[in-house]
Assembly symmetry: C2
Homo-oligomer: 398 residues x 2
């Protein structure tokens, strides 16, 4: 309970840090980008008048840079980090607390399951609050028997999106500035649960997930999220299980979801300078507000609550696999790639680093060790070369 | 001779990738930013008319993104990578070849000296050319006795700066678009030598240097460069020697240089999200065109030719120092910081990654291994804590 933690990676995977990402690859553009991004309950007037009038950010709205010293460690998190009496768009009122509760329950369940799989490692919890509301709970396990490093972080944020970031969002066809006066920063609420798990064994994949809910003071709301897997060797059976678990969930909610969200993950998790994916994807979605909030909430909840079902059996299966020093070095080089993706492209990470988030929580996602060898290209025909091929041409696993 | 190499880190430390760097910290602004950035030989007319007329980029001018497949490996570099009959601003004609020759001579001398210090490791040379002119020579030593990884890379580039990057340059008070029509991309020539050396022993600092010369088709030219040092423990005597060597050189050329260029390095090599410097700096300069080209050339040459004098004795002194596993881990965590700086802030690296440079050459600068521990804060009173203090409040070593 010694440390405090923020988690800014939930910020706007795809919102704000877009400003730092080159335009050449429309990584987060969905199909036609034409789904109804408007709040279902927003008045039509807002759409027409958004350029000529709109709300101004309140005088007490948070700054766009949160600052170094806004994280106050607390020994125990309050029962809710959502401000009392927090409103929200009409008909959407209780979603802030409801989403937070879902995240907190999942954080407890997932960390318990991971401790059981590990058998030795224990999560250490750090809580923090912030003056203008919100805060977070970080749980990090380091140096376990099975896991080198695993973190599950809850974050509740009252922030402001800077106007220059919103311009980038608008280019993507998502008007997150809607309802606000032009050039105005957009105060927002965000809540999310985010996680990265790096096992020791090279045959145990790294796993990442992030489920989040946003509301702006302009009356726009949306859900985002995803779970993805980063092995360093191909195992078809594991991939069938992982992707199959999420396909089944997606199919229950919308027959188009899996194809769309699998492709979105394949587009998002790309190390562009190497022209290869970080791993083997999973599902990824953002800007979801095209149906009732409760409907999307239920989908997010089912995705989140199945993280362990999708990932756990793979770790149980391979945690004691034998491996060579060469295979361990290959894993460490793939972890170097993980670092490259997270520091150069991951919008949540880049945004968090540049807006004063709590560094140790944001960079919890980095592996304990990573390796870079000059010009290390696997010999053709090896499992490593096959793996790279699957990173260059994403495969369909189910 | 199997591989080909580009080195884009010479690109515009401080030119182009500015677009990716937040504005909050004017890292590269010199004193008042008011030195005469104009070419000494440019006509006054250009200044007045630059918004209303100006040159258009030629139809054969290179694209702003160089592409994945423009690096052609060659078994031996031609005697010059500068195009034959290459012109340049009036009175500055032979500088392209002259600067290239200086770099090539220094590359040979420095790699020879490093091999002698190492005693076992050998540099491997990779050469490449590019269709529209230019190319490079990479020399990389991996797995030596003293050096884990050391690279010295020559690069000659015919490229184009994108208009959005130039806007950022203009904000900094440097009009690199001068002489070109508004909104036009700016074709340029650049030549430079760049290096990073990562020794194995935690008491042997990492060293980086980069000396470069730029010319635009609009008739603007400038020199940039610097040498800086990144230890992971404080050794006053070593720092006095390193900084003293460069102070002496600076003082010979301009009594104001050392103070200015030392401060510039302290501002540039900052890991902003951690509010700490990468290491202990050295000298850093850019946009130098306030005196005769030959005068600045002589200064650059003396800086470059003294890299080994400044660095070599420190390695000789400490290469066999005894160290503990804990000290090695601390070194690896500082290497994690090196990775964070290079991937998030270093303008040359970020620009290279995002414009299609040769990845293996750009990322040669990363250490072989790096480490991230969650919330690892040194105990007060330890050498590690003292080191961090010097990264937070840059010291004067001479």
């Amino acid at each position: 309970m010694k440390f405090c933690s923020a988690l800014l990676t939930i910020f706007s995977v795809c919102v704000v840090a877009d400003a730092f990402v080159p335009r050449s690859r429309p990584a987060l553009m969905r199909g036609g980008g034409l789904s109804p991004f408007m709040s279902a309950t927003a008045e039509e007037k807002d759409t027409k008048d958004e350029k000529s009038d709109g709300k101004k950010a309140g005088k007490d709205a948070p700054p766009t840079h949160l600052g170094w010293n806004t994280h106050n460690p607390v020994s125990e998190a309050p029962s809710s980090l959502v401000r009392e009496m927090d409103g929200g768009p009409d008909g959407n009122y209780p979603m802030r607390s409801k989403f937070e509760k879902m995240c907190r329950d999942a954080q407890i369940a997932i960390t318990k399951a991971i401790e059981e799989i590990d058998g030795e490692g224990q999560f250490k919890e750090d809580c923090w609050t912030r003056e203008n509301g919100g805060g977070g709970i970080s749980r990090v396990l380091a140096g376990g028997k099975v896991f080198e490093k695993a973190g599950v972080n809850l974050s509740v944020v009252y922030g402001s999106m800077p106007p220059e970031a919103l311009q980038a969002a608008t280019e993507r066809g998502v008007d997150r500035a809607k309802g606000m006066a032009p050039g105005e920063r957009v105060p927002f609420f965000a809540c999310g649960l985010s996680s990265v798990m790096h096992p020791k064994n090279p045959f145990c994949p790294t796993m990442h997930f992030n489920y989040r809910y946003f509301e702006t003071d302009g009356g726009v709301w949306w859900f985002g999220g995803g779970t993805d897997i980063t092995p360093c060797y191909i195992n078809e059976k594991d991939m069938k299980h992982f992707h199959g678990t999420y396909k089944e969930i997606c199919d229950k909610h919308d027959p188009k979801y899996h194809e769309e969200f699998k492709a979105w993950a394949d587009r998002y998790f790309v190390i562009q300078h190497r022209n290869e994916t970080r791993g083997f994807g999973g599902i990824f979605f953002d800007d979801q507000n095209d149906r009732e909030p409760d409907t999307i909430f239920e989908f997010s909840k089912e995705c989140l609550n199945n993280v362990i079902n999708a990932y756990g059996p793979i770790i149980e299966e391979h945690k004691d696999d034998e491996y060579t020093q060469k295979q361990k070095e290959w894993q460490l080089m793939r972890r170097g790639r993980y670092v490259e993706f997270n520091l150069v492209y991951d919008r949540g990470t880049v945004f968090g680093l540049k807006t004063g988030g709590r560094i140790e929580s944001i960079l919890m996602s980095l592996p304990e060790t990573a390796r870079w060898e000059y010009n290390a290209v696997p010999e053709p025909g090896t499992p490593e070369a096959d793996f790279l091929d699957a990173c260059t041409f994403p495969r369909t696993w189910v």
